[in-house]
């Protein structure tokens, strides 16, 4: 297979996946909107399930890719310059997906706005929503300044794309070098402000779980740190895969992918050490409520999520690839990145569910005969379909944005002249 065909094949697979996912996701969304939570499998013992796991998965991707884009725009790391824009765009899309996932989880979706009307700032969840709003605005603004010059330049022609760019450029026309320099400064300021926000909200997601002293499996000071670390790992890993398909693909971004692979591998090792520390301390303590969750994770009915999905697929195999000679080949590295990102779905499931799936008072689940009062939880078909739909929407939004917006070039290459060239490369 020639290189061009590999790339074309990857893109086709991407679009096909997006369309298929959305198509089957619609069924799940219909069910959810029509019948509420009736067809969801969680209950009052395990009140959070797949959707909350999906939410922390996506929000981690967002925080991670944002922080990596900041390496470029705040710290001027040249190595990652070619993927700076796509990283930022990925952060925006995954944030949207995270919000969708947590929104669909609400018992009353129509009341989501209550978090603005009646915020209770002693709740980490209220903090999260407010920080997300700030972050969303910041991401959108930063991305706009990053693209402004290209939008203004692209708006000068005729045709649909130019018209779209005219709208998106919001009336700015200045494509001079000075204006671009000014944009860059704004971007730097925004990206700098964004770093503490990203750390706060993602550390905060960890805290959202960490503060719950009723659930020993969550109640750990390590959680916020672990969340930040795993955000960087998962966000970076997904970025490797994305960079192999988009903005010129793995041939153009090869070196960047390999470099990112090294960073991700290092951080993943650190993440694993943190997790081992968490598990060992908990097992040694033998506090029943805590150990039960771990036992469930290691040897419960869904043991394979930990051993197969999270450990083998998401950690060991990709680490072996990245630390071997293959790690220097962009396609292999990108595949490893994809595996790590995928494996993190397992990590997220194992954070949310086992800690909940224990009786808080012994005998609770046998006192009432109800499937809602049970420690056993496996996501229902409807729950899966809803998540598949969200993921599919993400793929389509990302694909559309990537092909319509000038996200695919590093800032200094900008200019109307190379649009054609890049379009050509993209095939």
């Amino acid at each position: 297979m020639s290189e061009v065909t590999v790339e074309r094949w990857l893109k086709r697979a991407f679009w096909a996946a997006g369309i298929v996912f959305v198509a089957i996701g619609v069924v799940g969304w219909y069910d959810r909107l029509r019948f509420g939570h009736l067809d969801a499998a969680y209950g009052s013992i395990v009140p959070w399930g797949l959707w909350v796991a999906a939410y922390i998965f996506f929000i981690g991707l967002s925080a991670g890719s944002f922080l990596i884009s900041s390496l470029v725009y705040v710290f001027g790391v040249k190595r990652f310059e070619p993927i700076g824009r796509i990283a930022l765009f990925q952060a925006l899309i995954t944030l949207t997906l995270a919000l969708l996932a947590i929104w669909v989880d609400l018992g009353h979706m129509g009341r989501a706005f209550n978090v603005y009307r009646y915020p209770n700032f002693s709740s980490p969840m209220a903090w999260m929503i407010w920080l997300y709003s700030a972050y969303f605005a910041l991401l959108a603004t930063e991305l706009w300044f990053l693209l402004r010059r290209d939008l203004a330049a692209g708006a000068q022609g005729s045709g649909g794309r130019a018209r779209l760019y005219r709208v998106l450029a919001l009336g700015t026309k200045d494509t001079s070098f000075e204006a671009a320099e000014k944009d860059r400064k704004v971007v730097k300021v925004l990206a700098t402000i964004g770093i503490p926000i990203a750390i706060m909200f993602h550390g905060g997601v960890g805290a959202l779980f960490g503060v719950v002293s009723a659930r020993p499996g969550w109640n750990s000071g390590l959680f916020p740190i672990l969340f930040l670390l795993s955000a960087l790992v998962s966000g970076g890993a997904l970025l490797m895969l994305v960079a192999a398909i988009f903005q010129g693909g793995y041939r153009r971004n090869g070196d960047t992918i390999v470099a990112l692979g090294r960073l991700v591998a290092g951080l993943l090792v650190l993440d694993v050490i943190f997790q081992i520390s968490e598990y060992l301390i908990a097992s040694y303590g033998e506090v029943p409520g805590h150990v039960e969750g771990l036992k469930l994770m290691f040897s419960g009915p869904y043991w394979w999520v930990f051993w197969g999905w999270q450990l083998a697929l998401g950690t060991i195999i990709p680490l072996v690839i990245l630390f071997s000679r293959r790690g220097r080949q962009p396609l292999w590295a990108a595949a490893a990145g994809g595996l790590i990102a995928l494996g993190f779905i397992g990590v997220r499931l194992n954070i949310v569910i086992p800690a909940l799936a224990t009786e808080e008072i012994e005998g609770l689940t046998t006192a009432i005969v109800s499937s809602r009062i049970s420690t056993d939880y496996f996501p229902s078909l409807m729950e899966w379909l809803v998540v598949v739909g969200i993921a599919g929407l993400g793929l389509l939004l990302f694909g559309l944005g990537e092909s319509l917006l000038p996200v695919d070039r590093a800032a200094e290459q900008a200019g109307p002249a190379d649009t054609a060239e890049v379009d050509h490369v993209r095939v």
Binding site: H37, L38, P47, H108, V115, N120, S123, M125, S213, R372
Partner: protein
């Protein structure tokens, strides 16, 4: 793990101290804000600075202020806490008949999967020579972790009687409070029905007297999609916030208990049955180590 494993007993300093120190002690936040502060907050809210008002309100007093201005708070008493309702449950008297569960279901018209009280069974041959039964409502903790985590202050502890309630119209159904309650006292209403309460059946139209709101369950409308919990049958209080055993205005579980195991009353009143029992018998509370300070005690 036995439900009693991690609890202090009356002869350990834990309970004795907390019992004594609670009497007459003013718990921060329980006494409510001063009138001035409340008016200030209200005025802010009226000026449209709801966000700021809410921030002020949530500083230290949780949802109490906001709660006091809502109908669910039912005639908020502005003079601070009057009653501290609680239960003393005698496990020696409980025969495990589950009449309390049935009475609660009938009183509050709760759907499948929602039981404000449950009777759990304990078979621990080493500790007890007979099975131990324990009915478990919401403990209306003095320091409830469930209200603290609610992002919209939909669930809060009423300052006038210490009852932990849920404002169904504000609750967004995020279920964070379920994860935070260490006692499994909260239930999500999934919108399910018993065969006899399926839409179309006569019983489907039976309203629940909860919070004095008389809601009929409808698809997609509160309380479906909300978190629900025991209210100590708050709707049976009179305008002054008092219950009356003689008039039958008494929590359904306590009223129906065949073994007379459930004692209910005002823990602030030294002459109430519950206070007397706590003085005379050895009481424990569950998961004392979490600092939730439950207002439901168990006699062993």
């Amino acid at each position: 793990m036995s439900a009693f494993t991690n609890t202090a007993t009356a002869d350990t300093p834990g309970v004795a101290v907390s019992l004594r120190s609670r009497r007459g002690r003013v718990r921060p936040g329980a006494d409510g804000p001063s009138m001035d502060r409340r008016q200030f907050v209200d005025r802010l809210a009226a000026m449209g600075a709801t966000g700021l008002a809410a921030v002020l309100a949530s500083g230290g007093v949780g949802g109490a202020v906001l709660g006091a201005t809502r109908p669910a708070a039912a005639e908020a008493v502005t003079t601070g806490q009057k009653y501290r309702y609680g239960m003393v449950i005698d496990t020696r008297r409980c025969v495990g008949c589950k009449a309390c569960m049935a009475a609660c279901k009938t009183e509050n018209v709760t759907p499948p999967g929602v039981s404000y009280t449950v009777v759990v069974e304990e078979h621990n041959e080493q500790a007890f020579d007979r099975p131990l039964f324990m009915t478990k409502p919401c403990f209306h903790c003095s320091n409830p972790p469930c209200t603290k985590v609610c992002p919209v202050s939909a669930t809060f502890k009423r300052e006038q009687d210490g009852i932990v309630v849920v404002d169904y119209d504000r609750c967004i159904g995020c279920r964070y409070c379920i994860t935070a309650c260490p006692y499994g006292a909260r239930y999500f209403d999934f919108g399910e029905h018993y065969p006899a309460t399926e839409p179309g059946q006569a019983l489907a139209e039976l309203p629940s007297p909860e919070y004095g709101q008389y809601r009929v369950r409808r698809e997609g409308a509160s309380p479906v999609g909300n978190v629900r919990k025991c209210t100590f049958c708050m709707h049976l209080q009179d305008a002054e916030g008092r219950y009356s055993k003689e008039e039958g205005r008494w929590p359904a579980c306590a009223k129906t208990c065949t073994g007379h195991a459930i004692h209910f009353g005002d823990l602030n009143d030294p002459d109430s049955e519950v206070s007397i029992l706590l003085r005379e018998r050895q009481a424990v509370r569950l998961k004392e180590e979490l600092g939730t300070e439950p207002n439901v005690f168990y006699l062993l």
